[in-house]
Symmetry: C2
Subunit: 705 residues, 2 copies
């Protein structure tokens, strides 16, 4: 497929890549700002209404009224998000990070980068966050960035078939599109957390296989533009136009005054262990729930209903905890204006109400930064428990929902509780700072759930705007990952595996070292001759699910033998042809009566068909053509496609797939005869379950879609 | 070569990898602390002596005495460093970053990770920095980290042949060692700048090909341990034991109070352009100088002499500029205690003297942070010019010398000058902050010289301990790289290319897209039969410089034909055998009279020989053995070594080499017959010179060592 290009053309493409990345960053920044603005406005409006009712009803003993109003508003908002997601675009549910991860890994997930998806995602996340669910908007922002990147780089939309810019035609291939999607995801992280470096690392850690400096640099550029756009808009919203020090949408606030000592490191390590344990518990509960959901909650109606129920329960739980756990704190000078009095005496305010009457992000910030007396231990414990259970229940609902903020919330709550305990044990020392322990707890909990390491460290560092806590955060994240990995895998990987997607990890599991290509490969395979009859092509395409086929010489199809004889070969290997190419060839009727071509197809014809190829069943070829016509595959096949010999070992094959982003690898014997094929699914089939140093190999059944 | 290993063994190896990384981080931190401590002590001692003489002589009109003392001390210190380097280990000269870059790229540079090298490097850098040369100690610290990593991972030393721990035997292979060296380099960066994330990115940007998460994470661990060790030691030296907020050896100080606005971005871009121009000029001058040095300054004596001359001139220039450009500033409250009065009136001090009478690092810091009146424009211009010329002259001398600090110094000086100019144009605005412009200038200048992007951004961000300036620094570095790349390449790549090392870039140049394997490969190649006579093996090893040979079937050597017929093939491809393996086989006399083996070698035998294989000329085989004995290569060859067909295109081959770290790739035709071999040198031979959109392909002559 690598056609010869002139030097000038290559340079223009190079320039266009930068241009595309610029627009990716710009649009991602704009979309992130839009989401943020809408969420803040609607949340503010909602809380001002409810607060009014609460203030009025505390005296009049009509506390059920604000509950009903609250439940009503939340339920109404969430039902919009849920109907949009469940009925129009189910792939927009959740954070989108597992899908992006699959996409970057080289697995095609249907609909994941469509225009419809982003529309549903953006509107849905605004409604579901405003609807009081315990979710964040960061994951959906990352997904949005990825969709924007895919959309811009293709210059046309599948939803509006007419719209086709026709300028970015070069980018209509899987690898190019994937590179841009990596840039879009990074721009999303960059906008969400004000973490451009973290964004680049996120894309690399989650997706990219081959660290390509030019690509990493373009990704960096997109992240930079995205942060810049967002900062400019934010500076306008905040009323200090063009003052650009405001970093990102969700910054953790400043930790300048605090420091740490070496003797605190064991405490941090213990907190990392806690984070790992809680994270593993979270994932395990969510795993059970997801399994349950897949089995029993299949219809759109049920999905919307479940989202509704969770929304109502979230609102009610918050309200009840407010009612029963009404810890009052005296009003001090630096208390913010979002305090609520409720049942407290004059001059006091309810800390429980305060933590509930704000968006989850503001709650994280107040857990980090509020002064000592703000939250009582009981408030923290109750809050932490409620949020943990609700967040676990919420993730997986059919609404767009991010997982970062819930994780941080839970962790910040128990982290602050640890700080309180330490303060109780050592009442007179200066180093017990609640904000510090809150931050470490948040990092530990989030790390225990998502099991990211380097990129998460950098994201948190950039979000705190401070590198003093870099080292403790690293330690905590590493410990949390180690502890969590004993029990189960990260929540994103878990969701990917539940869906049976053939994703490849970073390294082949060490216990699989001794498998050879012969044991891993699919055998028998369907192969084509250099000139193949239309009838056989049609037949194979209809019966086989593979997406690539070896093209060989000297092969006489003999279906009786091939399935029996393991040693049998399929002719001498010449090249590889893709299903998509065959379909285009059939559709354009590039076959001749006695082997002569009518005309030749150019790369452009294949590009125009990308990425939606007609299913084979919709292509009609007459019986005469089937029997008498032949396709000459030689000009279209990839003669230089990689192949390995059948004695190649598993790690070597794995490395080829991972480093080069392969989808198919032909296996040949020592006479260059095709003997089998290795696909992604063959590699991902072996799942190693490791529990306390014992390893078990399972062969998984992969979904065949 | 991939022998079967048990699961348990693999786990132990995995644990050992972490252990090695821990010690790499620990030792790197210790060595960095040692260098820092010695440099600070000796510099303080030196300046206190000179200051005493100056203070005495200002009144007594004997200003030639302190000059002589200064020149004497500096010359004496530098001569030690220079003799050590030039006579004992020339590879310890310079920053070591080009060598590490080559090493990580997969090219073996002799002596670069030896124990002797680190001893010379550490002692040398202490003496040369103390000797007043305009150099930094950061590059040598990075090199030291790499050597430590190589040493520990091998568990033995080549210099002391007796010493062999025998525990890390698994790591005696090129790839394993390379991974550890990447960790060591990262630990070095981490210690030098307090930038653990920057260190990881440095290793990835400069070296690693395949972003392997497990490896990246181990590298991160080493960086973390290194920063931690250093911080603990530093906290003791500073007298506040175990208070760990002190970040790294060279931190830029705090920029907390300053901020920037969007309208300053065009100014930053202009400064980036300036940085690119000055950087390109620096590199061009250094290129000419290096060419000159390679031709005329070859002997150790001349090299020591040159270093001496530079040391004397550096001291003299400093002294003269002090004499003529004696700008006096009034003593204010917050002036530090390192001020020197010289010719100024009482109550005033000389800013020129102050900038000269401290280590380069302190100069950078005072350029960043001193108050407004500290440096006059003329001081800055003169200082900037002197440092630029001297730094350019110094880099390439036979002393260990880093380039980061000189680059930052030059940039900080002209950056502060830009700030002064802006202050002159807009005298009444609040946003002109000298420290800010100084920082931006420093980033621009350093970026223009070394052309690093992501890693340098993160290093500077971590060194400032603040992410507010992340965006401007990124912009400036990208602009500086773009502008600089128009004229020439980064200084490290330049030095690598001058030495003719076959290093591979990140991507194949776009103009080479259309070359195929056939055009790139070496042809003819020497091949071996599965059973090859000892005589022929000896002969081929003596005449060929290749390090890998294809093993084939059905090949009758026919030297007359092979050189003529381009189409000729060399038998059916079976596997690849390395020169080092053949040498071990010959040395251990694994050959038999009529083809029977006497005994078999295990992997351990090959490992023990690593990395010093006896040269072929030192292996003696009798004439009888040559004629009558055969080696059976089949058990030792790598049967699954990658091969490509002869129509594979250049980018595909390049990607294989780069992503998988290959050294040899056998080219076969469509009948699986060997037709040629591609080596690193074949790929690196094509150098594309690009000047203003015109591309020219040069075939380079690579050194054959």
């Amino acid at each position: 497929e690598e056609r010869k290009k002139s030097v000038k053309e290559i340079m223009i493409i190079e320039m266009l890549r930068w241009l595309v990345m610029f627009f990716v960053g710009l649009l991602t920044g704009l979309v992130a700002s839009l989401i943020d603005f809408c969420v803040i406005q609607s949340t503010d409006l909602k809380f001002s209404i409810i607060k009014k009712y609460v203030d009025k009803c505390v005296d009049n003993k009509c506390m059920e009224v604000p509950l009903l109003v609250w439940v009503g508003i939340n339920g109404g908002l969430v039902i919009v998000a849920s109907i949009l997601t469940a009925c129009f675009e189910p792939v927009a549910a959740g954070s989108g990070i597992p899908q992006i991860k699959c996409y970057l890994n080289g697995v095609k997930v249907p609909h994941v980068v469509r225009l419809k998806t982003i529309v549903v995602k953006v509107i849905g996340v605004i409604f579901s966050v405003a609807g009081g669910l315990i979710i964040g908007k960061e994951g959906p922002m990352i997904h949005s960035g990825a969709v924007i990147a895919a959309g811009i780089s293709q210059g046309r939309s599948d939803t509006f078939r007419k719209f086709d810019l026709r300028i970015f035609e070069f980018f209509r291939s899987d690898t190019e599109k994937r590179d841009f999607v990596a840039g879009g995801a990074a721009a999303g992280v960059s906008a969400a957390f004000g973490a451009p470096v973290g964004g680049v690392l996120f894309s690399l850690e989650e997706g990219a296989s081959f660290w390509n400096q030019a690509l990493a640099w373009r990704i960096f550029f997109a992240s930079m533009v995205s942060t810049f756009t967002l900062n400019v808009i934010q500076s306008y919203i905040k009323g200090i136009p063009w003052d650009l020090s405001y970093p990102g949408l969700f910054n953790f606030g400043s930790f300048d005054t605090t420091s740490y000592s070496a003797f605190e490191i064991p405490i941090f390590i213990l907190m990392g262990v806690l984070g790992g344990l809680f994270g593993a518990l979270f994932n395990q509960l969510n795993y059970i729930l997801t399994k349950f959901r897949r089995r029993y909650i299949n219809k759109s109606r049920d999905r919307v209903l479940e989202a509704m129920i969770v929304a109502i329960i979230t609102a009610t739980v918050g309200y009840i905890s407010l009612y029963f756990n009404n810890s009052c704190s005296p009003m001090v000078q630096d208390t913010k204006d979002n305090t609520v009095q409720v049942y407290c005496n004059d001059g006091q305010y309810s800390s429980t109400a305060t933590i509930l009457f704000q968006s989850p992000e503001d709650s994280v910030k107040s857990l980090f930064h509020e002064s000592k007396g703000m939250y009582s231990p009981s408030t923290l414990v109750v809050y932490c428990l409620c949020v943990f259970i609700l967040a676990c229940w919420t993730y997986g609902l059919y609404v767009p929902s991010g997982l970062f903020i819930p994780g941080l919330l839970v962790g910040a709550a128990w982290g602050r509780f640890v700080g309180l305990c330490l303060n109780y044990i050592f009442p007179d020392v200066g180093w017990v700072d609640f904000g510090k322990y809150s931050l470490i707890g948040a990092a530990a909990q989030l790390g225990g759930i998502v099991r990211m390491t380097i990129s998460l460290t950098v994201i948190i560092m950039e979000a705190t705007g401070n590198i003093t806590f870099g080292l403790p955060i690293m330690i905590v994240l590493i410990v949390a990952k180690w502890v969590g990995d004993i029990f189960n895998e990260g929540i994103y990987d878990m969701h990917i595996h539940i869906q049976g997607v053939p994703i490849l990890g970073w390294e082949p599991s060490s216990v699989l070292t001794n498998l050879s290509a012969k044991e891993v490969m699919s055998h028998p395979v369907s192969v084509f001759n250099m000139r193949e009859s239309v009838g056989r092509v049609m037949e194979v395409l209809k019966t086989e699910t593979h997406n690539g086929f070896p093209v060989v010489e000297d092969y006489i199809p003999n279906p009786l033998d091939s399935s029996i004889n393991e040693e049998m070969s399929f002719g001498t290997y010449r090249g590889l042809i893709l299903r998509s190419q065959l379909i285009v060839l059939l559709k354009q009727r590039v076959f001749g009566d006695n082997g002569d071509q009518f005309y030749n197809l150019s790369t452009k014809d294949f590009r125009d068909a990308y990425p939606k190829f007609t299913p084979i069943r919709q292509i009609h070829v007459s019986q005469y053509e089937r029997d008498n016509c032949e396709i000459n595959l030689e000009p279209y096949m990839n003669p230089a496609a990689y192949c390995v010999t059948d004695n190649a070992l598993f790690p070597r094959i794995f490395k080829l797939f991972r480093a080069l982003g392969l989808r198919h690898l032909v296996v040949v014997d020592k006479h260059h005869q095709v003997v089998g094929m290795v696909t992604r699914k063959d590699l991902a089939r072996y799942k190693v379950t490791r529990k306390f140093w014992k390893a078990r190999i399972d062969e998984l059944l992969m979904s065949t879609r």
